[in-house]
Symmetry: C2
Subunit: 103 residues, 2 copies
């Protein structure tokens, strides 16, 4: 199982509409990816590791798929529509990481 | 529910012994935190978002707890022992993020 993490850095002046992300964006991604997306997860950054430190990421969205190839095959036909929705909830340029789920 | 993410940046020359992390470190953390740690997850970085790009993080470990306070109360008495084990599996200085699990 792999996990595609979309990481939204908590930069100065950044905006992130978590309500829209949860109610509109992620369900749309789930519909577009269909059965290739086994599970989704969303985290909202609340703190860093040191007392008083801000979270590194304002938000993180995770998509679980059988393989990177399965994700890419399902994502590519919808990439443009999914990316076009980003400005509707944030002004942050996200970073993407693909990980293998080990535990 | 909150999630404490320990993020290991994929820096040049970094080493990360995933076998030790999975078989020794994470089970030790689970034993020390006890019932305060509801669930754990481990990811191994395999790629970035752009073809050929490396993963931002070599590895990520996640601890799920009822609240940041519950985590801190369970972690503090064992912080020294847990931190002292880090050089046994990596030379990376991890970053920590506390998130609220929204989905």
């Amino acid at each position: 199982m792999i996990k595609v993490s979309v990481l939204y850095p908590n930069t100065s002046g950044c905006k992130f509409d978590m309500d829209y992300y949860l109610a509109q964006h992620m369900p749309m991604v789930q519909r577009k990816l269909g059965a290739a997306c086994k599970r989704m997860a969303v985290d909202e950054g609340i703190a860093g590791g040191v007392p008083g430190a801000p979270a590194t990421y304002a938000a993180m969205g995770h998509l679980y798929c059988a393989s990177a190839e399965a994700f890419q095959a399902a994502f590519a036909p919808h990439a443009q529509a999914i990316m076009a929705d980003i400005p509707n909830y944030t002004n942050i340029q996200p970073a993407i990481q693909i990980s293998e789920v080990k535990m």
